[in-house]
Symmetry: C2
């Protein structure tokens, strides 16, 4: 395939894309929206410890990048729904793998840390 972009180049647009994906909370939001849309408050409750400010900023950035959609539902009472777009769903595949790696390698990392601490 050999595409034209290379994240190692400082000025390559893919660098800014990777920077955005790697932002503190993006991986959480993408994983949270895995199998259904969610509301603002619902996301905030689901992703423990995220502040409303961080949530708002990350959602806005992801919407700007076309990863999620924001829909004001004119029901009674009205509310807002966030959902993954097709692009966001394609990102879910690698980011779910990252999440799973993190969850399944906790003991390995804790062991490495303990060993490093013992060494000193």
């Amino acid at each position: 395939m050999g595409n034209a972009y290379n994240v190692m180049a400082a000025t390559c647009p893919s660098r800014t894309v990777l920077h955005r994906i790697g932002a503190r909370w993006t991986v959480f939001i993408v994983n949270a929206l895995d199998n259904r849309p969610m509301r603002f408050t619902e996301l905030k409750a689901h992703i423990r410890g995220i502040t409303p400010k961080a949530l708002t900023e990350t959602l806005r950035a992801m919407e700007y990048d076309g990863l999620i959609s924001r829909t004001e539902v004119p029901a009674n009472p009205p509310h807002v729904e966030y959902a993954l777009t097709d692009l966001g769903r394609s990102l879910l595949i690698p980011l779910r793998a990252v999440r799973e790696w993190a969850e399944s390698h906790v003991p390995d990392i804790e062991r490495a840390r303990a060993q490093a601490d013992a060494q000193r």
Copy 2:
């Protein structure tokens, strides 16, 4: 499988692991060490735009977590080699996918951004 860790819980150890993986430069270093060890200066040249401070700090943290090894080679002249450990190589699989996603979806994101800009 159903492991005991869940990144969505604020106090779960997997959260700190994910935070570490998501740190600004980890994904670059893991991808840079893909197929061979590298020296400090080599890494700095390869990952364009990284500062020596950021490189040092990220390498130290990754070594602490057991993702890379740091070896002082007593050759002439002596030098230092950084390499992925087995654990680091296992992380390479998801992080390479993230990198590839970034490199292959630049046009999609640029299109979304342009459309968002036009809308306002």
